[in-house]
Amino acid sequence: MKYFPFSKEQQTDMLKTIGVEHISELFSAIPETIKIQGDLKIPEGTTEFTLQREVKAKSSCYPIDHISFLGGGSYRRFIPTAIAPVVNRAEFLTSYTPYQPEASQGTLQAMFEFQTLLANLTGMDAANGSMYEGASAAAEAVMMAARINPKKKNVLLSSAIHPEYLECIQTYLKYQDLTWELIPVLENGQTDLAALESAIDDNSLCSMLQIVNFYGVIEDQKKHGEIVSDKKVLNLALVIEMTSLGLIEAPGAFGADIVVGEGQSLGLPVSFGGPYLGVFAVKAKHIRKMPGRLSGQTVDTEGKRAFCLTLATREQHIRREKATSNICSNQQHCALSVTMYLSLLGKNGLKDLALMNYSKAKEAKEALAQVEGVTLRHITSHYNEFVIDLKKPALEIWEALDKKGILAGVPLVWFDEKDTHGLLVNLTEMNRAEDVTNLTAALKEVL
């Protein structure tokens, strides 16, 4: 086996040093009754040559040349080629968590930079090194709110939050002694903040708003902030398309206590849904309550600036059952890629990118609204996605368009069986102007 560096002679030497004759003796502590009899029922190893052939065939199923309007929490992004060769350097890719700071300054400095970038982007005081992904990060945010304010028990959730996120938050909440309430959505696709206001009572722990919501609609963070801060309800903001922060004001500016988000949109491949990147940022006063790893600045014995993992007393390996989270391995390498992406993109690049996404979606929205049998569901401003209602069942049209080489969006019936005609359409910088022309033309044919 090409990965094993022992010759027969070396094995014999080692066995001799140990004082046994066969490797099998080393397993003598394991009762025979629970040992596997014979071999694992897994085929013989595959050579690299054969594996490559097989896997190329499998990967080529995916129609990478289809025109795509798929979004819904997983965004097609242009990723500069400069990123992969650098972040995949063995020093980054094949190292463990930076427990030994003297041997891990690269990861630690990059983490510190990531924390700074994400804190700045969200307008918060501190961000952690990463969470698993957006939905579980959102659940952790709610649990953190409960740590900040253990007396209040009811969680207010906008129902315009991504349905998979809602489902995830609710799953986690089932195990807490917390309740939740969904705040309805207005006709125009925004969360009904008046309803929120009346839902708030003394038991209201926190309110979570997805600032560009599942339907691509830009929420009124300002009003939300005012309502919740008035009532001492913790302000939780969720950002899934993080590039929107190049256009939309940061939640920190509206008093958010915790901002959580999905970092995939910052230059990670869609990769069938993972690995992604949970973003978690907080106000200074909440830092010691936050989950996840943190890199902190300090000095070495010579007084030089250095970084190390810090505030570990929040974490499971020190605090065990009292920890602020159970997270251990996180998504560091994804965070590193995002750090490099944001570094390349830069201040002006982000602004342009956000405007490009906005402009493309706006143009598409207008073009689609002209198509007979298509109506825009929400008459309001969107970032880079929006819902259209189709004359015929969306799933049917979706399949017909797929046959024409167009992945037209996400059928909403998957999330709400009554929503049979809605389609969530996303445009990013990856869409060309002709994509929209093709989509409208194809829609005319199939509608």
Binding site: G19, L26, I42, E91, F92, E102, C334, S359
Partner: protein, 487 residues
């Protein structure tokens, strides 16, 4: 001879300390639509605050991260015997497989037939993990081991609840367990009850008998445990827990000692997680991403989170129709880019290769134990160790920390230190199957030499590294967690 030498390393300031030099370090795709006015968005919602991003060119950014990388010790460059972390060689072919365009660009909401190839891989991976663990079903969702633990405990709670058994609010956890065990249980609102180890480092059966009441939802155990030795009573433990209505969670972090030799399912575990970033060689990336798929017995399957990857006849699909499902523990379906790699690893080794892998890993650990025993205290020495060996600094004047830092100076990553907590001054050494005898010997030579040094002689180490010993206390006392413009 130890590999540690001095060398030239290039210092790099923080991203934010570089002067603004370029409009952007990347091209956006061409503007082929007009820039829309943003007037339709209420002005108060438009971004006015600084985004705080740098303004650098591509060459500067590439250099920045290239330089940072050189401050890291890595597995490709050296021995990384972190106990309980299974830092084995990460095969490059697996990275290649994961990087294929048809996988990287596969959108989770594309029609499933477009992802047929990928679904076949994931299905096959489930089958591999079932066979390796002896479990009935596998779920690929968890993003890491700890996420798997949480999911496993959620399933156990759902199971009890489904049976109408609401009093089980506790969970037994051996004192040698990893911190994620109690903290994962805590998220499920379970109270951890510590199960003390006996003098042999194994679960104390009497204590178990006493603590395993009808308020206990189950036990979370690790086998081999974090002392590197096999819980020989594992099956008895499981049987006792089961008899009293509890469930057995098996922390599979140490599966590198068992693959192809014995199966948790056959030891009557009900649910376990794998850390594919340990046992199945996916790169740890300086902290993650990993993946923590779980294996489980049939009686827990109905509670699995949605969607469940299912095969009906020859058709593989995601099943969302799961009435008793606990819900979701994440968006989408799992850390697919990582799971493709672990699938490829198992595919490459095959059944026989996996058994060989385990044998080599255990051989290496025992060889190191045999050599290091010359000077070190081996607290639990009744058995051969499994894939890792636990030492303490009892016989040494210098502390474990000092020796660890001395190892860095000599060019080795230190082992896991001060864990497990059941012994003082732990050094938990896990060589894995991919380290050569030469390398094992060089490490043993270095550690045996350090074992003779005084604290005095070591406390200034490491000194050749880019930074010297780092003041971790200061970092925690006055946390600086982000860069701020100096006034």
């Amino acid at each position: 001879m130890s590999p540690g030498r001095k060398g030239l390393v290039l210092a790099e300031p923080l991203l934010f300390e570089h002067a603004a030099s370029a409009t952007s370090g990347m091209d956006l795709p061409d503007w082929d639509v007009a820039k829309s006015a943003t007037t339709e968005i209420p002005a108060h919602l438009l971004r006015k605050s600084e985004t705080g991003l740098p303004q650098l060119s591509e060459p500067e950014v590439v250099r920045h991260f290239t330089r940072l990388s050189t401050y890291n010790y890595s597995l490709d460059a050296g021995f990384y015997p972190l106990g309980s972390c299974t830092m084995k060689y990460n095969p490059k072919i697996n990275d290649w497989v994961a990087s294929l365009e048809g996988f990287a660009n596969a959108h989770p909401y594309a029609p499933f037939e477009h992802n047929k190839g990928l679904l076949e891989i994931l299905w096959e991976h489930k089958e591999q993990l079932k066979e390796i663990s002896g479990m009935d079903e596998v779920c690929l969702h968890p993003a890491a081991g700890s996420h798997g633990e949480l999911l496993g405990m959620m399933l156990i709670c759902a199971y009890h609840e489904d049976r109408g058994d609401f009093k089980r609010t506790k969970v037994l956890i051996p004192d040698s367990a990893h911190g994620t065990n109690p903290s994962s249980a805590a998220i499920c609102n379970l109270e951890s009850v510590t199960l003390p180890s006996g003098p042999d480092g194994l679960i104390d059966m009497e204590a178990l008998d006493k603590l395993m009441t009808d308020e206990v939802a189950g036990i979370m155990l690790t086998n081999p445990n974090t002392c590197g030795i096999f819980e020989i009573n594992m099956k008895k433990v499981a049987d006792l827990v089961h008899e009293r209505g509890g469930q057995v969670y098996f922390d599979g972090a140490n599966m590198n000692a068992l693959v192809g030799i014995a199966r948790p399912g056959d030891m009557n575990a009900d649910v376990l997680h794998f850390n594919v970033h340990k046992t199945f060689s996916t790169p740890h990336g300086g902290g993650g991403p990993g993946a923590g798929p779980i294996g489980l017995k049939n009686h827990l399957a109905e509670f699995l989170p949605k969607p469940v990857l299912t095969k009906k006849e020859d058709f593989i699909f995601q099943d969302f129709n799961r009435p008793k499902s606990i819900g979701r523990i994440r968006s989408f379906y799992g850390n697919i880019g990582v799971l493709i790699r672990s699938w490829a690893f198992i595919k490459t080794l095959g059944g026989k290769g996996l058994t060989e892998m385990t044998g080599q890993a255990v051989l290496s650990a025992n060889y190191m134990k045999a050599r290091l025993q010359e000077k070190f205290h081996v607290p639990f020495d009744k058995q051969h160790c499994m894939h890792e060996v636990l030492l303490t600094d009892k016989n040494q004047e210098a502390s474990t920390l000092d020796m660890a830092k001395g190892l860095i100076e000599r060019g080795f990553h230190p082992p896991t230190i001060y864990f497990p907590l059941v012994v003082q001054g732990a050094l938990l050494i896990e060589p894995t199957e991919t380290e050569s005898k030469e390398s094992l010997d060089a490490f043993c030579d270095a550690l045996l030499e350090l074992a003779t040094k005084s604290s005095e002689e070591l406390h200034h180490l490491p000194e050749t590294t880019f930074v010297q010993r780092v003041d971790e206390t200061l970092a925690a006392r006055k946390p600086i967690l982000k860069w701020d413009l100096k006034p």
